[in-house]
């Protein structure tokens, strides 16, 4: 430690002590005033109405998603730390919502919390419904510019303004077993996105792997997550993009989603079903029944534990316009009706959790891609040379909302208030195709449904 560093540390400690002292004094004052307050209230016969934090700490309510244990644990730690740090100034109360989508949809704007976490794919729907506060001019620009390109795109509505910040992004690709690939005689294993296998090469790879596997299966696509609406919207939209299209182009799905190139890509994908292990136990890859898995970053901890040095991370196959991947994960936004000191407190809360320390706290627990450039560089797995650098590289080459080309990789899920309808229509088509239905009809029906909904809403 150099001299200056030492001085700064000492200085920091001093400051820390002063802050602590202040807190103690404030706390004492708070207690005294609270006691005085309640006595006064009791005398007036209004004991029930005395608020718990009468001392002036601004209350904010926070809704977090509690689907994943690691994530909700991190959220609890962050809220507790926030309350400790700003004791007497701000106080956040955390509520965990198992189904945030339904919770936000069925809550009117004036009942929404100050701050809430949500699935990034719903941003446009919430902005459209007037539920999210615009964040530019509120959260400092430096916070946004430090976010990954993909996350900046995810938090931007079509009006060009920012409505959310995110602590982490997702990574989607293939995982492979080096030994199994080598045993099947496959030597051209791609580890950068520009070298991704073409779809026809991938068919050969699957066939070679299956021939060597005891159960004659080669691939796990997490069929157990459900091939109907949901998982396909994230995992298999890249097939549409890799054929060179978006689900919706210029507000129209017909001609885009049901384009001949997309239809042909899905026919190829469906032809792989004979090599796909249904993975009912969710462990086809870890248990060595298959040599490849098509899944996201969240499986990395389990896979690397099971395979160790045998694990390799690969890009998804290329269906013509280069490999494509998904992007986006949970986001944080401010309820539209937040105002005055509540809004100020909510703003402070967002900035607090966007510190690298807290971002790494949550990504350490859920394995996701840290969503800021500075945090990414501190992450063992995602920084240059890390095991999951491929994901970081893919996200850095985000296509944004432009038509996907071979020069970019990740495509955000359609940033539109129509996303729930698009997701359902696309998932239904995917399920039909996967179970042997006609790809052209299925995709056309989905496209017509999406366009009709768009017309019904006067183009949103």
């Amino acid at each position: 430690m150099t001299n200056t560093q030492l001085q700064t540390t000492v200085c920091k400690q001093k400051n820390h002590i002063i802050v602590k002292l202040r807190k103690v004094i404030r706390l004492k004052l708070k207690k005294i005033s609270a006691v005085a307050g309640s006595i006064a209230a009791l005398t007036l016969g209004l004991g029930v109405m005395a608020p718990a934090h009468a001392s002036g700490a601004q209350e904010i309510t926070v809704w977090a998603m509690c689907s994943e244990t690691g994530e909700i644990a991190a959220a609890r730690e962050q809220v507790a730390a926030f309350n400790g740090y700003y004791e007497g100034d701000y106080h956040a109360t955390l509520t965990c919502k198992a189904d945030m989508g339904t919770a936000v949809k069925s809550t009117s704007v004036d009942q929404l919390p100050s701050v809430f976490e949500f699935d990034g794919e719903n941003l446009a729907a919430y902005v459209y419904a007037g539920k999210l506060k615009q964040l530019d001019g509120l959260v400092p620009a430096s916070v946004f510019s430090n976010e990954l390109v993909s996350i900046q795109a995810e938090g931007t509505y079509k009006d060009g303004h920012k409505y959310s910040v995110s602590q982490y992004d997702s990574g989607l690709g293939l995982y492979g077993s080096k030994k199994k690939l080598a045993a099947a005689g496959i030597k051209d294993v791609p580890t950068t996105w520009s070298k991704a296998w073409t779809a026809s090469r991938f068919t050969q790879v699957l066939s070679a792997l299956a021939a060597k596997a005891p159960g004659k299966k080669a691939l796990d696509i997490k069929e157990n997550y459900g091939m109907g609406p949901g998982w396909p919207g994230y995992a298999f939209t890249p097939i549409v993009n890799s054929a060179g299209y978006q689900i919706v182009t210029n507000g129209k799905a017909v001609g885009s989603l049901d384009n001949a190139k997309v239809v042909s890509a899905f026919k190829t994908f469906a032809s792989w079903k004979k090599y796909v292990d249904p993975s009912a136990d969710d462990k086809a890859f870890e248990n060595g029944r298959v040599g490849l898995a098509w899944v996201g970053h969240w499986q990395y901890p389990a896979f690397s534990k099971a395979l160790g040095k045998d694990l390799v991370v690969l890009p998804l196959p290329n269906f013509g316009a280069g490999t494509k991947s998904g992007q986006g994960s949970h986001s944080w936004g401010i309820g539209k009706n937040s105002a005055g000191t509540e809004l100020a407190a909510a703003n402070v809360f967002l900035q607090y959790i966007m510190q690298d320390k807290w971002i790494l706290n949550v990504t350490d627990q859920n394995g996701a891609v840290p969503a800021t450039k500075t945090a990414l560089n501190k992450s063992v797995n995602y920084r240059k040379g890390g095991a999951l650098q491929l994901y970081a590289d893919q996200l850095a080459a985000s296509c944004g909302t432009a038509t996907p080309t071979a020069k970019c990789v990740t495509v955000p899920r359609t940033i539109s208030a129509a996303w729930p309808v698009i997701n359902t229509a696309f998932g239904t088509a995917m399920q039909t195709i996967w179970n042997g239905g006609d790809a052209k009809t299925a995709l056309h029906t989905a496209a017509v449904t999406i366009d009709q909904d768009n017309t019904d809403h006067s183009g949103y």
């Binding site: 159960g215 109907g228 249904p278 359902t424 399920q431 039909t432 179970n435 909904d453």
Partner: protein, 306 residues
């Protein structure tokens, strides 16, 4: 005269009205009011969180559901699935319930254990049951059902794609539903069985009736009213099919397990399309009322039999 009338009204009917009030209030609040709201909403283009505001559409929602060449086939497919499901489940489940009830009506030691055992699936939430069955239905040879079939057929029966094959998926859902629901009907039939006077069986034995003769001539007529109730309630339950489909197949494969209820719920709560969901519900309630009336007409309850 007037006085007598008044006192009659005041004493008997007032109590009656008072006692039925809680039920009436709840019915009004949770059935009648929502249903009238649904009829009203079905005439609009209305969404959760709609910015442009609801637009009056008249019968457009009904036209799309019932007539439109692109959007209507799925509704008829769902309705057909509902009917097929009911045609499989109602006889099978009722028959099985009677069989189990007759078996469990035996006076044996530890019979309470078996009764509890068969009733247990009814207590489990459907979400839990469906997830367990998803493992049993797995399409590879690791799935429990496929494993069993393979074992007992000495490898002759190849793995079946229980939930992925459009021809089998609805049957698989029916199988699960019967397993999960039969306990409920069984308990009702069991109660019905215990109502049948023992003298009737005694008399039948004296007439040297064997087991089957006793079953067809004493048990079945004695259970008539119970069975009518069970059939009607099973029909309604099976038309309401939703949870299993939502968890296991999401209406697929190739719409093989679409149901009317699934469409209504997903329209409203996934897509936010309140207008369409309301219209589906209105049509469906009318259909269910028609079916129930028809059943009551055919299976007229015989109040004389005791």
């Amino acid at each position: 005269m007037a006085k007598a009338k008044k006192s009659k009204f005041g004493q008997d009917n007032l109590v009656g009205v008072l006692m039925s009030l809680p039920g009436l209030i709840l019915l009004t609040l949770f059935v009648i009011v929502p249903f009238i709201t649904a009829i009203y909403l079905s005439f609009f283009n209305v969404d959760f969180n709609m910015v442009q505001g609801p637009q009056f559409w008249g019968l457009e929602q009904y036209r799309r559901i019932l007539v439109d060449p692109i959007t209507s086939p799925i509704f008829y497919k769902a309705l057909m699935n509902n009917m097929t499901f009911a045609l499989i489940v109602v006889p099978a489940q009722t028959g099985l319930a009677v069989l189990l009830a007759v078996m469990l009506n035996a006076k044996l030691k530890g019979i309470a254990f078996f009764r509890t055992f068969f009733f247990m699936p009814v207590v489990f939430p459907m979400s839990l049951v469906a997830i367990i069955w998803a493992l049993m239905f797995s399409r590879d040879s690791m799935g429990m059902l496929n494993g069993l079939l393979n074992l007992f057929s000495f490898g002759y029966i190849q793995p079946i794609d229980w939930l992925g094959d459009p021809n089998i998926a609805l049957l698989s859902i029916a199988l699960l539903s019967i397993w999960a629901g039969v306990g409920f009907q069984m308990v009702i039939v069991l109660a019905g069985l215990q109502e049948i006077p023992a003298e009737l069986y005694e008399a039948a034995s004296l007439d040297r009736a064997n087991f089957w003769q006793r079953f067809w001539n004493v048990t079945v007529p004695g259970l008539r009213n119970t069975l009518i109730f069970v059939i009607i309630i099973t029909t309604i339950f099976s038309l309401r099919l939703f949870d299993q489909v939502f968890i296991l197949t999401k209406g697929g494969p190739i719409d093989a397990t679409q149901t009317v209820m699934y469409q209504a719920v997903t329209s409203a709560f996934i897509e936010g399309n309140v207008g369409r969901a309301s219209a589906i519900t209105v049509i469906f309630v009318l259909i269910i009322i028609a079916i129930t009336l028809l059943q009551r007409l055919v299976l007229r309850q015989n109040r004389e039999v005791k």
